[in-house]
Structure formats: structure tokens, C-alpha cells
Symmetry: C2
Subunit: 426 residues, 2 copies
């Protein structure tokens, strides 16, 4: 693979989900900022029936099994608190997802929790399900009260607009964007016998942040059958190799959420070993594609670096080295200049906190070795510069300590990043 | 104090040291790049005698007691290895200090060690002292062989030029500069009875780095009498509050060195409690001034932030919070725009790794509280913007966890920093 995957042309829809978005006036720009995904027993495509009524008839059996991962930040936004508690109380059951952009509902105290709960309650009423089965997300400015009344006013329109269509998916993906320059969608399909199983992922995130606009949100939808308990480890594994192995600026949002919903509508079950293996691979591929789309849309990013840290004693050790390199402003600014300045990479390795012996460290840029056993070695500097000037370049750091490795996606740090993030916003 | 101290007009010279610098052709610019400090039994001012001869006569009694702190990076430059070993073998005795700029002699392997040892040997021969009493330092590009022959060729001229004068101090301070835009000098004098004791500090550092030009070097000279064993804890204390409490970009150089030399020429001894207390205060004041000079000369820096982290359980805890805030690219870019974006500061506090309760966190910008118990509180945004637009602004973060605090000097992250560090250099 020499180029990162962009949002693919073809979107494959899992059975059991419908999507919609509207503009509720939360974003000053007037762009769509309120989005919904509703889980059905079977897809809602082109029926003449009122969607709300059609849905109600399957309400008892409806809903998806859910697994989720949240920000590790101690400062968490109201929807993260509410969503986590709801998943706990329902045992991982979600009937609908309501996301607003333009306001993070973070650092808003007790009032923020109440506003979030009210949105869930109103949406639950309209869909005829308990508030705890409505999963909330918010992304946008921190510290500003959530305009809950604007959301309530638009919920009926949002629900009426939902459809199990590519158009619905694209509308949802656009409405959750903040500083993203493009929507992020990935999907995969596999067959087990006569059954087709689909995984669809939609994400936002480009920074982690713009002035007070935070967050990576990732939603994964599948029609495989699985309990919440079965889903959680599968989600963890898929994210460990992808969404947990990337960094743009090292900052962690207060709202980061990854949610996986399984409708079971395909008839295939992860209880079956063959299905589980194929599902796991498809889920990982979708997460990896979303990670690449997020990184390559990073704020001010000119170059994506695929950083391979190899020959570590453990995966944790490899990650520690990768994060230190990926967060070094000196390394990232050198990459912005396509400068094969391996001394900065070596210096970052040296300060990562591990007892690394520099005389065993090798560094490669593109296909060339630029540092051998911790010291300079001859290389074609023009070629290294050309490699780093590509949209994507591989950098490889070998520690000479063990057999483990990690692949980490990161970016350069450009003057444009500073400009985007330094605009006086308040 | 509302402004940071710049290099003062008046330089006070401690007894027993002479200074010089020459251009040895290591820097491409042809600027001075080789500097010397020699320790005398008494100052060498305007004598007609050949300096080398005059020095030899006091060689037996000569030399200073030394204490030093080095980089914590696992990748260390040859002069750091050689200097550390020499201090160990001599029990902390230094007769002269030889510093070159323009080449870090780092990642140069065994050949780099030999080149460094050769410089010490040649300087020792010319001064009539063992090579181990010559303390070496290098700063500049990483991974390029040290041009030792250029240094040897200039050593006689360097030694002949030395003088215990303000001119000598300024020449030394200029010659050790790399990306610094100005020399960094601070001095303090106190009296104990009839004796005057002086502390002089000279530093370089502005980044930590420019393309492959690294390092903070700090040299402290005093005429107080002290053993190496007495000096080391005094140096540690002074640095903990100053040079260890600042950050420009979070990167740690491979060559960082702080060296304290005590000639004893004043007659006062730190063994005396009153002298020790006054000396300790003077040393701290000099280190603090140098720290402020380094930070305000940081690459691309527009605003210096005095970050006070208060109400921590321990000093280490306060430092951990301060470093996380000071290294956050989002916080630093907000400061570049004079943007009172406290949400980013709170989010950095939340991800620092400590179990901090956001609902007990207060944040102040200038004199205004901008975040109360982890949530927004009304404040004059124009005033906060004006405060942050000053060359120096105080930011205060209160954790509500305990009685300890720390004062940490840091900077904004500007597009100019990126430009300086992204220039294609190799």
C-alpha cells in the first residue's frame, strides 16, 4: 500500500440501520449539526409506511447490542457520562444514536448532564423507547451550555428524515464534522455460507481540535449477531491496532467515543468461530481505514508518517517509543520540511523513559538506513528528502531489544496547524 | 516582577576565572565557535607576563571544585560522556572548560569520543594540567564528525586571548550561541563580613533546538570556597526551581550540561552556614535569571507564560501537571493567538495521568478566574486576551488536592517556531 485510503466511493449498508441529519442552528454556519442513527429489526428502505410507525411495530425486538470505548481524559463531557451510564443500565442495548456537532457539552456541569438527559428523553419519547436506549454524543466548543431547545425542536424532522440509504449515511457523516475537511466513511462485507455480513464505519476528527472544537467520534454499524459481552473484546482488539495507534498532536479530547452497534439482521452470529474471525478482520479493516482518513485529514497536515517501531521487548514499549517520537515538536517540524533529520528521532528515542541502548538503534527513512547502531551512516539525502516530501512516508525505528513491533500513524506539524489553532476564538 | 529579566548591563566577575573565544571555522558562518574558561588561583588581569607561564606557576594549587548536571536523555553526546568520566576520576576538579559550538559531537560513536579526548589532551598539554581537568562541551549539529584538527589549530590563540574581564565574558557568551538571538549572562554578589562573593552564569539555549542544533549549556562560576561534595546539592536545589522548571518544546537535548565551578578565591567558604545560605540564594537568582533569558529567547516565541500549578499533593504532581500543559500543542497554539481558551488547559490537566477531580479545578488567566470548579464562569474576555497578548502573562491552575505548588516557565508555539525548525537542513 503506497497511498492512504480515502473515503471509498462504494458504501455498503448493514441491515437494520437508518440514518438522517438536519440543521438545528447549533453551528453558527447554519450547516447540518444534528444527526441520527436508528436501529431497526430490518432495514427501512422505500416503504410507504410512516417510518415512525413502521419502527414502533418492531420496537420490542428492536435495538442493537453495543460496545463502546471512551476518552481516557479525566475531564469528560456530559454525553460521555450519560452514554456510559445508559450502556451500563441497559446491559449494552442501543435503539438510536443522537449526535450534535457545534457544541461539546463539556465543562458545563450539572446543567450539561440535564440538557443531555433531556435530549435522550425527548428522542426516546418520539421513538417509543426508554431514554437509556438513546445514545448521545456531542462535539464542538467546550464550556458553552448545550442549546437543548434547538435540538428538541428539530427531533421530529430528524426522525422523519431517516432512511437506510447511502444518502442517509453521507448526510450523517457530514453533520458530525467540525474542522474536518471531508467526511470519513469506510465499509466492508464478507460472506459466511449464504449470509452476507456488513460493517460500516463513520468518523469525525481532525486534530484532535480546533479552537475549542474537540473530539474523535467513531461509529461502527454491523448486522452481525452478537451480545454486548461478545462485542466488547472484538472492538478493543480492532481499535488497539488502528484508532489507538495514531496521533496528530498528542492531545486527548474530553468527548472521544467509539461505539459499535450490532443489529443481528444478517442472521450470522459471532458465536460461530468462522464468522467471528471474518468479522474481526472486517472490523479491523474498517477501523484502520477510518484511522488513515482521520490522520490524513489532520489540521494543517502535509505529510502522513507511517511510523514502525520494531524490535521492542513488548508492544507497550514499542508504543511508548512511537508516542514520544510522534509527539516531538522537533521531529514533527522536521517532517514538515521533509528534512531527514534522524538526530531528532534518535534524541526522542533517548528521552522516552526506557533504558534503550542507542548503539543498537537503527533508523530508516523510506527504504534507506540513515542511522546505523546509533551513529550516522552514508545515505542518499536527496532521496530521503524526496521520500519525506510524499503525502505518505514510512519511518522505521529498530530498537534491538526484542521481537515486538507497532505500526503508528502520525503527521507533520506545520505552520498551518499553528494558524488553525491560534486564531483568537473567544 | 512584571517583566522577565534580560541580560543585565552590569556583569560582576568572580575572582579566579578568565575567559576567551575565537573563530575556529566550525560554524559555516565564520562566527566565533570556540570558547575557553580557565580557572586561576587569582584573576589574571592586565599582567605583562605570558598568560600560559603565569598560569603554570599556580597550576599545583589551581583549579576549581566542580558540580555538574547532565541531560537525562539516553542518547548522550561524546563530551557529556568524557566530561562525566573526568569529573569522576578527578573527584570534581576542573582547571579549564573548552566549549565548541557548530557541532554537537553526538551520534559520532567511538571516533567522537576520541576526538573529544584529543581536544582535552591538547588543551591540557598547553595549560600544563592533566587532560581529565579539562572539561569539554559541544553544541551544534548531530551526527557529523567533530573537526578536532580545527580546534587544535586554534587552542594556542584561544589560551593566549583569555582575560578576567567583562569583554572576555561577553566573547565567551557569544561564542557558545547557536540559534540564540542574544547572549545570556547573569551575575549576583553578596557580602559576608568583609568578603565579597560573586556568582556569574553564562548560558546558551533557545529551543531546545534548531535543525540538528541542540542543547542548553549553563556554566556557573563563583569564587566561594567549597568542595565538589558541598557544591552538588546546592546546584541541584538551585536548578530544581529554575532550569528544571522550564520548557519550550518539551524536547531534551543529548548535550544538556550545567556546570558549577568554585575557585575559592574570595576566601569565603560554604562550610560557614551564613555564607552557604547567601550563596544558595545568589546561585538560585542567577539560575532563575538564566532560565528566564533562555525561555524568552525561545525559537519563535512571542509570549512567555509563567505557569503556576497550585494545590497539588506534591511538587512532583504539580510538575507533572505543569509539563502536560506546557507541552500541549493545542494549549501552546492558543497562547500564540492570545486566546483565553481555558477548555484546552482543562483538557490537558485531565489527561496528565493523575486522578484529578475536574470539579475542584480553578483556572486563572492574568488576575481573572476563567474556570470555576471545572466549569465556565463569566470573565472579561477582552481583558484576558489583552493579558495574554503581553510579552509575559501569568496562568494559574489550582487542583484542590493539597498544599504544594510549582512555578514553571514556558512559551507559546508559533508558526515562526515551525518555520525555524522545518527548514530543510541536510
Amino acid at each position: 500500500m503506497t497511498a492512504l485510503r480515502r473515503s471509498p466511493e462504494r458504501i455498503r449498508l448493514p441491515l437494520g440501520f437508518s440514518f438522517s441529519a438536519v440543521a438545528a442552528g447549533i453551528k453558527v454556519s447554519g450547516r447540518p449539526d444534528l444527526a441520527l442513527v436508528e436501529v431497526w429489526g430490518r432495514p427501512c428502505v422505500g416503504t410507504g409506511a410512516s417510518p415512525v410507525q413502521a419502527e414502533r411495530s418492531s420496537a420490542v425486538a428492536g435495538g442493537a447490542s453495543a460496545a463502546a470505548l471512551f476518552t481516557t481524559n479525566r475531564v469528560v463531557a456530559a454525553p460521555v457520562e450519560v452514554g456510559r451510564a445508559s450502556l451500563h443500565s441497559t446491559g449494552g442495548r442501543v435503539r438510536a444514536l443522537v449526535v450534535n456537532s457545534g457544541n461539546a457539552n463539556c465543562a458545563t456541569g450539572r446543567a450539561g448532564i440535564k440538557a443531555c438527559e433531556r435530549v435522550c428523553r425527548e428522542a426516546g419519547k418520539l421513538l417509543g423507547v426508554p431514554a437509556a436506549e438513546i445514545f448521545p454524543s456531542s462535539t464542538g466548543i467546550i464550556g458553552v451550555p448545550l442549546p437543548a431547545e434547538k435540538i428538541h425542536a428539530k427531533l421530529p424532522e430528524l426522525i422523519a428524515a431517516r432512511s437506510a440509504s447511502e444518502r442517509g449515511v453521507r448526510a450523517f457523516a457530514h453533520a458530525i464534522m467540525t474542522t474536518d475537511t471531508r467526511p470519513k466513511i469506510a465499509s466492508a462485507r464478507f460472506r459466511v455460507g449464504s449470509q452476507a455480513v456488513t460493517v460500516l464505519g463513520i468518523a469525525k476528527g481532525a486534530g484532535m481540535i480546533h479552537p475549542q472544537l474537540a473530539t474523535m467520534l467513531v461509529y461502527l454499524f454491523t448486522d452481525v449477531g452478537a451480545s454486548a459481552r461478545e462485542l466488547q473484546p472484538l472492538l478493543g482488539q480492532a481499535c488497539d491496532q488502528s484508532l489507538n495507534c495514531m496521533s496528530i498532536d498528542g492531545d486527548t479530547s474530553t468527548n472521544d467515543t467509539v461505539l459499535l452497534l450490532a443489529s443481528g439482521a444478517s442472521g450470522a452470529r459471532v458465536r460461530d468461530l468462522r464468522t467471528r474471525k471474518k468479522f474481526s478482520a472486517a472490523l479491523s479493516a474498517v477501523c484502520q481505514s477510518l484511522a488513515e482518513q482521520i490522520v490524513s485529514d489532520g489540521e494543517g497536515v502535509q505529510h502522513v508518517i507511517r511510523l514502525f517501531v520494531e524490535q521492542a521487548r513488548s508492544r507497550e514499549e514499542a508504543l511508548q517509543v512511537a508516542r514520544t517520537i510522534a509527539h516531538s515538536m522537533l521531529v514533527k517540524t522536521a517532517w514538515a520540511g521533509a528534512d531527514p533529520n534522524w538526530g531528532r528521532i534518535l534524541a526522542a528515542v533517548g528521552r522516552c523513559g526506557l533504558p534503550i541502548d542507542p548503539s543498537r538503534v537503527q533508523i530508516l527513512i523510506g527504504r534507506q538506513k540513515v542511522c546505523h547502531n546509533g551513529i550516522a551512516c552514508p545515505f542518499n539525502e536527496r532521496q530521503a528528502h524526496r521520500d519525506l516530501a510524499q503525502p505518505v512516508c514510512d519511518v522505521r525505528v529498530q530498537l534491538g531489544r526484542g521481537p515486538r513491533s507497532v505500526r503508528f500513524l502520525t503527521t507533520d506539524l506545520t505552520a498551518e496547524y499553528v494558524r488553525i489553532n491560534a486564531d483568537y476564538s473567544t
